[in-house]
Symmetry: D4
Subunit: 249 residues, 8 copies
């Protein structure tokens, strides 16, 4: 319920077209309608191409399929993250337009094309094994309406691979750095590039990597300024935040 509707209601009360009791009844649902404003805004955003996000992990194949079918009716864009092929098969049967990005584990349903700014998002990984997380970030950013520069396998053990690409990276508006093991790449990029860096620790590694803790702590304690961090293996979150910044006017 938005301001105009309230105004209309008040006018009706004034004119006697709506009784005070009826208006009170309607307004009694209002308090949360306002937070509902947010919801309406949210709906509006969907109509303009902003997708609905579904975290598929921990949902059943049936639940995922059902959510997609509801969304498809509403002509919404949908991004289903952490999806598996079984989920996609079920979704596709109902909504044949759905697309599956296997490495990124994303099912996408795109009813309207979002506007795409000229500026780029750089997505850099330390190693080849970080690619699934990187693709999750990249596909997310692309589905949200961004162009992405992928630079994979540019870890600090061979720092020349990174340096070669610096001029391209510096032209981007925001940089996503994805690394497992010691996660040093975030600090190195943060020290070389004067752009917001979103660091994604990955669980790539073994032993004292502890499922990504080594990279996570390293990125949080980075001596480089302008580095912020998301959860371990959270390519989706990094792609989403990078898109927010890149699409900023």
């Amino acid at each position: 319920m938005n301001a105009k509707e309230v105004e209309k209601l008040l006018t009706e009360v004034k004119k006697g077209e709506t009784s005070v009791e009826k208006a009170l009844e309607i307004l009694k649902d209002f308090p949360y309608t306002d937070l509902g404003f947010a919801r309406i805004d949210h709906h509006r955003e969907m109509r303009t191409g902003y997708p609905e996000i579904i975290y598929c992990a921990g949902k059943s194949v049936e639940q995922v399929a059902e959510i997609f079918s509801v969304m498809a009716e509403k002509e919404n864009n949908v991004i289903g993250s952490r999806a598996n092929p079984e989920m996609y098969d079920a979704v596709k049967r109902i909504t044949p337009d759905a697309v599956f990005y296997q490495m990124a584990r994303i099912i996408s349903l795109q009813k309207k094309k979002p506007a795409v700014p000229e500026s780029l998002i750089a997505i850099i990984t330390a190693g080849t094994s970080d690619m699934p997380v990187a693709e999750e970030a990249a596909i997310t950013a692309e589905l949200l309406g961004n162009n992405v520069l992928r630079i994979y396998d540019a870890g600090v053990a061979g720092i020349h691979r990174l340096v070669d690409k610096l001029p391209d990276i510096r032209k981007c508006r925001v940089v996503v750095v994805i690394a497992g093991m010691e996660g040093a790449l975030a600090s190195v990029v943060g020290g070389l590039v004067d752009k917001p860096v979103i660091a994604v620790p990955t669980s790539v590694g073994y032993g004292a990597n502890f499922g990504g803790i080594s990279a996570l702590l390293a990125m949080l304690t980075s001596c480089s300024t302008g580095v912020t961090v998301v959860n371990i293996d959270n390519g989706f979150g990094a792609g989403f935040a990078a898109s927010m910044i890149n699409k900023m006017k």
Copy 2:
């Protein structure tokens, strides 16, 4: 590209077989030339009002004072973070223009005023005890050339305090959320505001707070999109990253 190739190129230049322009073009692609440029860019940035950052913790009073005096001569802006009153006393004796923000623990020396964009950075804390970290973020952002909207003590235990301020927060370009204990505020703000949220866990709390770990983990695993995280108590880092985003064109 190795020494022999460079020698060959120089010889060709000498002989006139290769023009100076062509040689320069080739040397410009010399992979690591970039890095040298970076240093120059860096210096350039300083001259244009971008401050030098000094992490004062773990440095002696003498070291801090000396660094400020060198910077003062170079007409650079300087931000000394995690400084204490003794450091300020020593700095002030040499560079009387230096200013101390006690709660923020920042010594500032500002030789040139940075440009300030119209858009605001919102800095929100869950409790009063988070104020030192918030002030570190706010003063950092202000010294870097930003206007800041401070909203302190708006934790989720009394969520109406936050909701009252939502319209103001939504007008800001980027939001810094600072909370200790369970750090829930970051998720709540992230769910209500469609702006990049930089979350700062603080060490405020006791017991299972473990010096900020509870808030840190909560923020990293936030179910709200668009939330990125910096180190525990790292107000400086949040202020710096927020400024990068806010000053983006």
Copy 3:
């Protein structure tokens, strides 16, 4: 009190120097008589419909089936938690009245209906993936003789979903909040509702969730008053404690 003193007391009773009543009074204070009473009380409670609890995890299918068959003979109610379908098949063969709640992983054998108070227990989850834990709590509470209000998928990323339900929640006598990831929902509910809140962290999430630690720590350090916490994924414990409070006279 030692054997000799008891002997002396018995002799006095025999001689009529001490009355039976007096001796009983003394022996009633016999420190550990109490414990014996407890066992009797316990038995009595079973007869009145209070179920026997069996933690099935780590027991063999045969052991679980045998325990149920013994209980069935004693006309006791039984709740078998953390059970799997194989266990249920074996139980059902012997005690065909047994019921299996698959999502809740509970096998129930109900010989007598417990009394049910009018007041409700609210069970709220942050996400759909928290449902198995929520159902464990809900079924446990129902089997113990309570009416349950289920509110699922009301996490703080879309706080309006929670706010819509506040009037209903406030009518309940005790609230169980179940959330994984950052577990912020417990604090938000605790801040909005003036009722005891039992928070259940779940292992839903990945990375810095560390199998439920992020939600656990967040709930323990909640800034909202009236929040107590049970083990990660411990829906049974929450349902049991909520029942204790709800059935209080």
Copy 4:
């Protein structure tokens, strides 16, 4: 703003006493006024003796004193937890009625006496060193309007000390168990008493106690049903939750 006020406003609009524009303006502030209802309720509760809670740790002496002086004017009851003698000295100078419970670290200002139910809260500690946390719980419960049964130093190393007191404990409506080291007391009490048990792990101990982690984990994984847990050393939280349950009708 409550329902009656909205009704009044609507009636004024109907009568033309208030313009639609003016009403819209007022209602625009409404959404958060509703959550403000909570605030008003909250105020009402204060008038009926429900105290305002102040977490003094991390606040300056001046801040604490100022908050008390504001509350004193409003004739509210106030509980200041984790306070120190310096804070109390400052508070007392302004509000001489304030009382300091040193071991409990609580400053109390009680303008109205809360109603006290007949039922008791039992507060049991494992050792003498747990007394500060126990007193925090006990004083909190008493200030909120409860009678408390204190049983201190009844740890499982000498379990007869606990058993002696069982009859008294069983008469209470809710039990708070406070223990450091291995925290076994919570499980033992939970196994002997058919009442809600709120367990408070304390940081009493050394080495593998890790500041209370051993007791915390033990209490969370208790094999006894009906045990819920609060943060390490959180006597206040336990006293508050116990009061909620004890005062339940």
Copy 5:
């Protein structure tokens, strides 16, 4: 067995239908009579020289002094562990016979000499810095009535220091091994000596020692058989357990 049954029994005794002996026999099986016996046994042990143990840490000077004065009247032996000089001063004023072992942090009051077996307890430390923990173990064992062989500073970095003493160590009945840092000494001794080894990790070390965790984990995972472990820095517990084994008949 409940009150009515006891009453019935008492009546039978009174009537002469049951003999005192028979009734006593029945009451002796009274399940928890045992526990009461334990208390009596305990008292008996005290009379025979078994000391009362007081954990002084976390108690006030006054509390410690008072406990000692009560014990002194009862002619009990007392061991006060983790005591400080202030506590001793207060104790001495009231009970001048009390003795203070400063390095061991023990106040002792010995009214009766315990019997001392011929067999020895070996107490071995890896380094000089482990001596306070070792002395706590040694003094505890001596006060409980044991002869102790002290071998200090025999760490594995210079394993010959240990090997020199092997013949003496092998003559002891039980071995206490005390080590910080990597705690390897416990495994080495356990591999060389065919006696029960009680390992005490100490907090000696820095960095990845984490306050004794490195030694604790090492001792728990020792590849040598016959090694059991007590808490970090728990010299008292090791001395007590070693005494139990050494005094075994």
Copy 6:
């Protein structure tokens, strides 16, 4: 090389049958021969019924079978811990006398019967799920030549189950307490029984049990004296240490 051989060598030197140089050469290899003395002692122990221990986990089926076949030839007793059925099948094919204790995961080859003392080892578990660890301890102790009193499922949630058995437990010479979850049983037994208690934390439980950490920390910080601890799930180590104490003369 043993004392007799050295004596023989010296006699040969004296007689001139061996040159000084030759003897020196032989003795140069002597240092490790002495530790070899230990080895010879070790062999002697084997001849008297002391088994060779093999940790089978992490060894291949072939390796395990080969070790058993070598031992069988030497007429040694062997205990193979953490073995699986495949290993047993392979062992049995070569050494048909080998016995497999499935729940205890032990393969035993017993060529000589060890002497068995009259005193008993009590092995107590908190729950049924702790039985595999308990059986590992019990079978180990029995194979080493001890009689074992098994008391399973006597956890503190129903403490009367333990108290009923106290008289039997008190007759044992050493007590092994095995518990998962909060591990409180070790403290309770340690407080009731004046015998050495070897506590075995198990990984039974979920959530904040963290694979046995909750029980481990609880046991290490036990407030009861005389409790020592072995590694999580280390039934073998507990059985071995208990045997050492029980067989002590």
Copy 7:
């Protein structure tokens, strides 16, 4: 040094004002020229037999096969670590010269034989279960051109097994010690041998081993000098570092 300066230098070369040699000298100091040299050096090293390293874990079978085929064309030596049989099958199909070391999980392609120094690397394990890590270290060192002395199953529980081999170990130039569980072997070897010791903690063990943490912490806090540590189970890293030291001139 910036583009203009380089242009000026080139112009001077062209004009003959600066000799080619002089210009080369200047450009050689070009700060980041070094990095380029590194790449060239690196290539040179490959041509001389220094292998390319591929971390196969987390790469697809196809990716691994493709990398090997590219390398084979370049006549490079290649070491593929953490490889599995499927990867080897794919590699072999394309490059039949490739060799698979199954226990070491290494695929090797050796086009040129590296020079082998006379000095040895000792590789010592505590137990048989540490062998896969040890073989990874040994094969790595051998492929890099070293002779290796393998001493397996020499743990401190039977220290004579180590002492027997000391003379051989002392002849080696560098020692790799590989141990799980409590990792004490590193300290013992470090105390007995005056050579650099590279310690490799392994994940062998259970319970408080926590996947290798016990050994890792023990090795890091070793009281023996000259011990450095690599990641848990990182046989490759230890073999590589040992080779670096062994091949030093």
Copy 8:
């Protein structure tokens, strides 16, 4: 007891000057004399300039002074690590030649100058705050007889500071990298330099640095080959290990 003494003893036996029994008696003490040979070797090393190492932390001022005075008499070199000024004052009173390196916390007594190889050890720090650890490493290496190249404050946030120094670093024989926070410098140096790198994590930082854990884990999981790690803040251990490698022939 050394080889000559044994030879003398054998000769005496041969001559009949010593009885076989007497010789056997003496040789019975021999086994550990041999490890005593090591001790004698050790003494020899001391005579050649190899210092005795004393870990002063956890020792009393008197103990430290006494050890130095004993060593001074034996004309040994001594390095006392982790010493404080009070210790030095006490040492100096007795042995006036002792020198104190305050930042390195080392007391040195140098009776003979060790030989110094031509090759250098590079010691690089990420920040100024790492200097105390670096000086501990540098002074240790120098006292052991090495020349050291100090490069301080060359962290990855400004990687050009490192690259400038690469030519010098590459000339060293072994590199010590010292860094706190995210410890990325070790990986970067390891990727750029083909020399053994000994990485020292420091406790410099705050929050998620957790006293050095972030840097420790990062260094252990470094993606660069040839990096080994010592304990947090263990400058002494790094200097010692680097010296071992640098002085290798």
